[in-house]
Amino acid sequence: MMLATHIQTSIKQLLANKGKAFLTMLGIIIGIGSVIMIMTLGEIAKQFLLSQITQFGTNVVEIGITGELGPFQSQTDVYFTLDDIKALEQSSLLTEITGISSAYTLSSTLEYAGDSHAVSVWGDTEAAFSVNNLNPVAGRVYTAAEADRADRSIVLTERFAEEVFDTAIKAIGKTIRINGTSFNVLGVVNDLPFGGGPIGGNYVFIPLKTAYAYLAPSEDVNKITFILVEFAEGTEPAGFQDRLLFEIKRIKHLDNDQDDVFFVANRQQFLDIFDNVLLAIQLFVAAIAAISLIVGGIGIMNIMLVTVKERTKEIGLRKAVGAKNRSILIQFLIEAAVLTTVGGIIGIVGGLGLCYLAVMVVNAVQPDWQIQFVLVPLAIGLACGVSMLTGIGFGLYPAWKASRLHPIEALRYE
């Protein structure tokens, strides 16, 4: 009944001691601010990752040979060849396959106009482009026929092309050299997600057979480092992956339990791992926020106890003119809740402001990432609720004390 009046009194009280109130709310502000920040930043990172991965295609399973990627090179002499890839494509168990990118990669140096550039050479069939969602921004990619002929054609990625030739268009038709072999620049495609990942950005694509013919050391010829198997939309990834591994083991004459030969990753898994990591970070920050909220809550309890002491006469008067214990209890609970909610709102606004700033900074440093700022309504609602509940929780004891005051003793209190 007196809710509006109580809230008004609380705000009047708060404005009368702005500085003190702000210091009191600091714990709440920090606690709520960190909750909102970690939830918002987590969501922003997730959205970004998701956008990158979807651009990359999520219906792809990546399979490498452990020995090729890990430190156990001598443990296995298993590797893929183009014949294996054909066998997989023709397998009756794997009709969902829409393309297989079969990569042989090596690091090298590219020379043009007297300058040298470190590059990752990616030898692959023409399927590399469709499976990895790489589309020409200038020129074109090589055809199956050109790949089969082992043409000395090369396709650059966008950022690298711009670095060497200023613009993608200027690169088309130029001749560059890798390891002394000259290549004709056929086209430029968009960058791989995350600028190519941590292994380095400067990817250049050449036909697989060209790589074997001109760049690979003799012991590497016909070896494929890893394959990316794209499957049709709507396929159940786990089941498909099981069948794929089964077929690979059959083709490679491996025992069925020799799973550790392969390194398998599908991009859904990658997302799941990210989700788990994010959850762990969020729980950690939530724990810190909880401590901050407890400290803040104790601050609120302290200030409310002081308030109740200072306003003992007022409480006595209110009781004399008819306030029941319950009315006094509610009044002081509302005051505590208003205090923490205002703190919470400051925390929310501050936290969101910092998130926005962080996004702007990252976008300024990495313009091509184009990270989107998102509001997480759940986080905002949660933060409001938690801050209000903190006030009610920690205001309970002071409010209870106020409600138990004897009217006459309270009126006489000096």
Binding site: M1, M2, A4, T5, K12, A16, K313, E314, G316, L317, R318, K319, A320, V321, G322, A323, K324, N325, R326, S327, H406, P407, I408, L411
Partner: protein, 233 residues
């Protein structure tokens, strides 16, 4: 709000018998009120008098449901209120009593209007209506032009007028005044007492604590206390 029947003109509005109040200071008993009998009829204006420490305030607090007696019985408008619950007594204070204190006890940083309206808010009256009623009462006590002043912008006499308006806002059956002029100069005291006796003439039952003869002169009946007992009534 409790439904207390308003008494007829002849019926006692307040009747107490052998009422006592003992304070305890550790193991030491302080008998502030020692077996008091008193009857108050509707419309009476009583001055509770006596030397300092004689128990005037204690007795008034008992009569006004602000404190519980140690023993004895108390009928208010025919109801034995001795074993009423705290909440019920709070409702009674709100609906049938009004208080005027020596120290005014107005809420700081709150306008005269909202100070006067305060008791109404505990009865569930809407704020707008409560303010209308409060404005009416401020007009009555001669503060129609000070409605939005805060206590620190009002003189002592004006503050006491605000507190009288607050005491009247619920149209109480009994008005309790504990040394209403104790903090005021002679001239202002006279003005306040004129206001209080005007209320008496309008039919209000008034119980006033004072130790000043010239203030007690406004009342129609004196009750003398000494050492917690009535010595003359």
């Amino acid at each position: 709000m409790p439904t207390s029947p308003r008494p007829s003109k002849t019926e006692a509005i307040i009747r107490i018998t052998t009422l006592t109040k003992t304070y305890w200071n550790g193991a030491v008993a302080i008998p502030a009120v020692q077996g008091v009998d008193l009857t108050v009829r509707p419309g009476e204006f009583i001055a509770l008098m006596g030397p300092s420490g004689s128990g005037k305030s204690t007795l008034m607090n008992l009569l006004a449901f602000l404190d519980a007696p140690s023993s004895g019985s108390y009928w208010f408008a025919g109801n034995n209120i001795t074993d009423f619950s705290e909440d019920y007594l709070a409702d009674l204070r709100n609906s049938v009593l009004g208080f005027v204190f020596q120290q005014f006890h107005l809420l700081p940083r709150t306008t005269a209007l909202d100070n006067v309206a305060l008791p109404l808010l505990y009865t569930g009256v809407k704020r707008k209506q409560a303010r209308l009623r409060a404005a009416e009462l401020l007009q009555k006590v001669g503060l129609g032009d000070r409605v939005y002043h805060r206590p620190n912008e009002l003189s002592g006499g004006q503050q006491q007028r605000v507190s009288i308006a607050r005491a009247l806002v619920n149209n109480p059956m009994v008005l309790f005044c504990d040394e209403p002029t104790g903090n005021l100069d002679t001239k202002t005291s006279g003005d306040i007492m004129k206001l209080i006796s005007q209320l008496h003439h309008e039919g209000k039952t008034i119980i006033m604590v004072t130790h000043a003869e010239e203030i007690a002169d406004y009342a129609e009946r004196r009750v003398q206390l000494r050492d917690g007992k009535i010595v003359q009534s």
